[in-house]
Amino acid sequence: MQSADQLPASSCIGELPFTGPAAVALLFCGWRSEGLLLKRIGFLLIGMIALTASGAGMTARMPLSFAEPYSGKKVNNYQVTLPVARSEKRLFMIPEACEAAMSSFASGASQWGTRVEQRMWWKVRGDCQYYGFLYRFPKMPSEDYVSSYDFMNAYLRDIPMGARCAALENPASIPGCEPFPPGVPDLSRLLPFVDRGMETPRIDVSPCQMQNGIFRGRVIQDKDGVHCEADLSAPGFRVISVNYADVNGDGYLDVVLRLIPLGRHAGRMPLILPLTRKDPNGVFTVPTGTVLPEVPGNQ
């Protein structure tokens, strides 16, 4: 397996876009590259130019969080060696080398390697798509009504609960039961659904709230409509990252939640839930015209 230290310096240029982290990586590559001092200085200069260019007219990109392959720890970027042909492997720095990675993926690289490596290709693809989704519109948005909200301790009533309301006669008229655009995850599907019927007396109408990004509980449907009930022993979900970007280019800052389901039968691929609002006290909705990346579980 090839490590970063063993990479030829030329591979740095081939894979890294002109972004802030990429520029830092170029500086690193130049410093670690083998050969003449002149060559090293050349790389350092290119890195510094790239670093300067990355800040001009671009969105101030906040670092993203990824789960590092094999260790699982939270990182802003990671290296991964993946097969690109029957007997060829390449090291990719994600998200900096996402373009190269996606290009390899598109050319069928994910068919090579072991089952775990094939699966790893899908993780890289998911991470890169998320990265691309966030920074599709580099222009800085002018309106921000989302960043003041504490999404790690959000009330579920503020977050759309989606298609769980499909059983109702006129779901679209009930708050929280508006249909989601395609690919947007329905959080209520991650929670057990309890149908108490219209006659069932209301038990608890207190609002459910996430605690440090976690909510465990169940969705209840009764005469008061759809609401939820917190229960630490029940399945749920966890917000693993909260990122801000204008994902649909409408000039309003959006929030993008990455969530993972919790519970015995839950998968581990993070789900992406973009939300926005256009006034400080409005409800959060899915930004219009959002084209979500194809993430398993996001539907």
């Binding site: 094999y70 072991t114 089952r115 699966r119 790893m120 919790l262 015995r264 039968h265 839950a266 581990r268």
Partner: protein, 920 residues
């Protein structure tokens, strides 16, 4: 052999010179002898199980480790943890240490802010007692920690030091670890390190101690025994000298062939001291007998060579076979022992037959004392009285031995097997105590593995097959076989539990989830449990079962469960050190039985060939089977296990014990030819053999009892049991052996082979006319050959007529006493080579009416009425030919007698006529 010994006795200085040169050459190699203790030596060579084990090690790895056990009521106090952390840092810096595993390194799999956190349990010191308690509780959920690195009561913590493959020197390892450990001893209630390097180091140290302690003791025991029994300075020094030279040569051979000293081979020098002395004692005893009978040195040496040469050769062969038969075992250490000990004995034999005659030739006349004291008063009369008493109580003796045999056999079911390297060490062993603590507080240091192999890539990434692994683990836990089993499933369950933020580890429910989890799993963490292509998986079962039988039952049970419950597509094997030890146990038991059987068969064949009668061989084995039965009975009753030491006891001790039987039988054979009376021959045999047999047995018992002082339990048991066998064989040799062999008429093969005359005369004799060679031989084997000097009476008038005689060489005169004077006789006839006499009275069943006297040195074949009757009963064809020949011979003699009578009558008539003529 006789001629060879004569040559040595006539060229003593040459013998001394050659032995000196060879000893000098051997001493050069002694420096190359090394002490090496390894678990592999206790295993079976070329064992298919071992191949499986090696494959498993290659696939999953199996590093050697040392456990550092720390015991305290408050394990997680800050000062203690800092001391442990320092210890780990220091130990990991040691060149032979690969890594350490402890709560400081084992990942505590959990989710922090939605991301996996693999920080070790003790990444930081717990802030409070409550936090410490919580941390220990969480650690105990982890199957890789509970019973492995932490005791369930959280009072014992372990740091596992994993050693590098290269350059591991046990002493350096233990000293270095102990050096760093000393800092922890003051912090914890108890702190020690244990592992294979510690066990091996202790065994190595003990071997050194044993060699320096037991070797002088063995020599002292032998000297005391020899001094008490022989009281001749030369006789005391000689066995020590021959043993010393053979030990030197054996050690030289070990150095040359790179055979190390280990628990078993380290006993060879002491055994050579003990066993090697026996032949010397027999030779010396015979020499002193000769001197006592008034022979000069060279004459006594000649007699010693003649009488003892072949006996010493035969007894060497049986003892050699006894030691060599231990090598039949497929266990490496026993094979090494069998080879070394038997070769050492061969050296001892060569040194003995050359040095003893040479030394006696030079110093034999130095009689520094009057002879043996202890048996000085054992005279012929006492031997005779003893034999008479024994004969009178024949039935009682047999009944007593029969009862003893039954009681011993009843003890057989109590025999059990124990093949644990740690049991080599005594109860006072530090390593053993530490190991017992590990076994008590944790899951134990022993382990075996269950290997599941599908041969298909990614099999163990599927929940269906992971559940198969889990099923086996559940079965093992429920059966109570082990406190700790770990597998890939456990790690995956921990990972899944952490990801799903579950309270307890849980196996993923779908293959998809497994695949997702695999993205966050470092293969190096699980390479001990699953192959890189996930086609095979391993369950490590740690246990503290010391009983081989119990372990055997558990493993058989596990095999049965696996065979009946698991997917038939999976190839399941159970391997590991414990399984190899079980395999070695089987090899040891079968090797033990093979050794004993081989030896007894060998002995029966030798004796049968020697005496040309299978019955003799079978009967002679009785006194030697008896001690084996007693040995196993005592093992059963005294709860002495069959182990690496006791497995050797029976074969070795029997190999030695048969020597005495052999000496007894060969002596009896010599005596019966000389004394012409079975009873006389027997008490002469007892008289002649009492000193050497008792001396050698006492010396052997004393020597073997030295082993009883060994710190190695199997060796101590080996010593005690061997002494028991020698003692029992001694009793049997003076009771069962005389009673058994007195019922047989012994004609040795040598008797037949050495007399070419008999080969030529017998077939031409009228008695055997028309018989085939094998029929003649069969008949002769039921007869006895007696030697007569000129003038010696063969029979006299009035004797019972129980035999007929065939002159093989010489001349016998048969005469009738006449009434005219006491010394006057009428010569009836003279019988020369090939002629038969004494048959008429025997067939007529009347007492002898004639006297028969040898008139030249004569050798006579004696056929008893009993043997003729037996031939009539069992071999009618031979009998019919025999009686026809007898009738022909009697008729011929009758015709001859009538012719002679007629001549005599004519002569008398003529004399009477001449007398009448004279009167006229």
């Amino acid at each position: 052999m006789h001629k060879l010994m004569r040559i040595f006795s006539t060229h003593p200085w040459w013998v001394v010179f050659v032995l000196f040169v060879l000893s000098l050459l051997s001493s050069v190699q002694i420096g190359n002898v090394r002490i090496q203790i390894s678990a592999e030596e206790l295993l079976v060579m070329d064992d298919p199980e071992r191949r499986i084990f090696e494959e498993m090690r290659a696939r999953f790895g199996d590093d050697e480790l040392v456990l550092v056990l720390l015991q305290d009521e408050q394990l997680l106090e800050k000062e203690k943890l800092e001391a442990v952390k320092l210890f780990i840092t220091e130990v990991e810096a040691l060149p032979f240490v690969g890594k350490t595993e402890s709560l400081f390194s084992v990942p505590h799999l959990k989710t922090v802010e939605g991301f996996l956190d693999k920080e070790p349990y003790l990444a930081s010191v717990p802030a409070s007692d409550q936090k410490a308690r919580e941390l220990l509780d969480q650690a105990l959920i982890n199957p890789f920690v509970e019973h492995v690195l932490l005791s369930p009561d959280a009072k014992v913590m372990v740091v596992a030091v994993i050693l590098n493959e290269q350059g591991i020197d046990d002493l350096s390892v233990t000293e270095a670890i102990d050096g760093h450990l000393s800092g922890l001893k003051s912090q914890f209630g108890d702190a020690f390190a244990i592992g294979s390097p510690y066990v091996r180091t202790e065994i190595t140290q003990k071997i050194r101690q044993e060699q320096s302690r037991l070797f002088p003791l063995a020599i002292a025991a032998l000297l005391i025994a020899l001094f008490l029994l022989l009281r001749q300075l030369i006789d005391i020094i000689t066995p020590i000298l021959t043993a010393g030279i053979s030990i030197l040569w054996t050690l030289g051979l070990m150095g040359l062939l790179d055979i190390p000293l280990n628990i078993v081979t380290s006993t060879v020098p002491i055994l050579l001291i003990v066993v090697g002395s026996t032949e010397d004692i027999h030779l010396l005893s015979e020499f002193r007998h000769g001197q006592k009978d008034g022979l000069k040195t060279q004459q006594a040496l000649q007699r010693m060579s003649r009488k003892m040469g072949r006996t010493v050769l035969l007894t060497f062969i049986t003892t050699y076979a006894g030691f060599l038969s231990v090598g039949v075992s497929r266990i490496e250490v026993l094979w090494q022992f069998g080879f070394l000990a038997s070769t050492g004995l061969l050296f001892n034999f060569l040194v003995t037959i050359s040095l003893v005659p040479a030394l006696l030739s030079l110093t034999g006349r130095w009689r520094l004392d009057g002879g043996s004291r202890l048996f000085g008063k054992v005279n012929l009369t006492l031997a005779k009285k003893y034999w008479i008493w024994l004969e009178q109580n024949r039935k009682k003796v047999f009944v007593l031995f029969g009862l003893c045999t039954l009681v011993a056999v009843a003890g057989f079911p109590g025999i059990h097997v124990n093949h644990h390297a740690i049991d080599s060490l005594g109860d006072d062993s530090r390593a053993r105590r530490h190991l017992e603590t590990v076994n008590e507080k944790l899951a134990g240091l022993e382990s075996f593995s269950v290997i599941l192999d599908s041969g298909i890539e990614d099999t163990f990434l599927k929940v269906r097959y992971l559940e198969e692994l889990r099923e086996i683990q559940d079965y093992i836990r429920e059966a109570g076989l082990s406190k700790s089993t770990t597998s890939f499933v456990d790690y995956l369950a921990l990972l899944n539990g952490a990801f799903q933020e579950l309270e307890n580890p849980e196996l993923p429910y779908s293959d998809d989830v497994v695949d997702e989890l695999m993205l966050f799993l470092n293969y190096e963490r699980i390479r001990a449990y699953v192959s890189e292509d996930y086609s095979s998986a391993r369950i490590v079962v740690r246990h503290n079962i010391s009983s081989t039988r119990q372990l055997q039952e558990y493993i058989e049970d596990l095999h049965a469960f696996v065979d009946s419950n698991l997917d038939p597509g999976l190839d399941v094997r159970i391997s590991g050190n414990s399984v190899l030890a079980l395999s070695a146990t089987h090899a040891m038991i079968s090797g033990q039985l093979q050794s004993i059987l081989l030896l007894l068969v060998f002995f029966v064949i030798i004796i049968s060939l020697l005496f040309m009668d299978l019955r003799v061989g079978l009967l002679a084995s009785i006194p030697n089977i008896f001690p084996v039965i007693v040995l196993f009975g005592v093992m059963g009753y005294a709860d002495i296990p069959l182990n690496i030491g006791t497995a050797m006891a029976a074969a070795i001790a029997i190999g030695i014990a048969v020597d005495d039987t052999m000496h007894f039988m060969l002596r009896y054979n010599q005596e019966i030819k000389a004394s012409k009376s079975q009873s006389g021959a027997m008490h002469l045999t007892i008289y002649e053999e009492a000193l050497p047999v008792v001396s050698t047995s006492v010396a052997l018992i004393a020597g073997f009892l030295v082993f009883a002082l060994s710190g190695f339990e199997p060796l101590a048991q080996f010593g005690m049991l061997s002494a028991l066998v020698i003692g029992t064989a001694l009793v049997a040799d003076f009771t069962i052996t005389p009673l058994v062999i007195s019922t047989l008429r012994l004609v040795t093969l040598w008797d037949l082979m050495s007399s070419r005359l008999r080969q030529q005369i017998i077939p031409r004799s009228q008695l055997f006319k028309g018989m085939r060679q094998w029929q003649i031989r069969k008949f002769i084997l039921s007869s006895t050959v007696l030697e007569f000097s000129p003038g010696e009476t063969v029979f006299k008038r009035g004797d019972e007529s129980e035999e007929l005689f065939l002159v093989m060489e010489g001349l016998v005169e048969v005469s009738i006493p006449i009434s005219s004077g006491p010394d006057k006789t009428l010569v009836v006839d003279q019988f020369g080579t090939g002629e038969l006499f004494g048959d008429v009275a025997m067939l007529a069943m009347e007492r002898r009416r004639t006297n028969a006297v040898a008139i030249a040195p004569t050798s006579i074949l004696v056929l008893t009425r009993e043997s003729i009757n037996n031939t009539t009963n069992f071999h009618p064809f031979i009998a019919s030919r025999l009686f026809l020949n007898l009738a022909t011979d009697v008729s011929k003699r009758w015709v001859k007698f009538i012719v002679k009578l007629r001549k005599e009558t004519k002569k008398i008539d003529r004399e009477e006529e001449e007398a009448k003529d004279a009167e006229r």
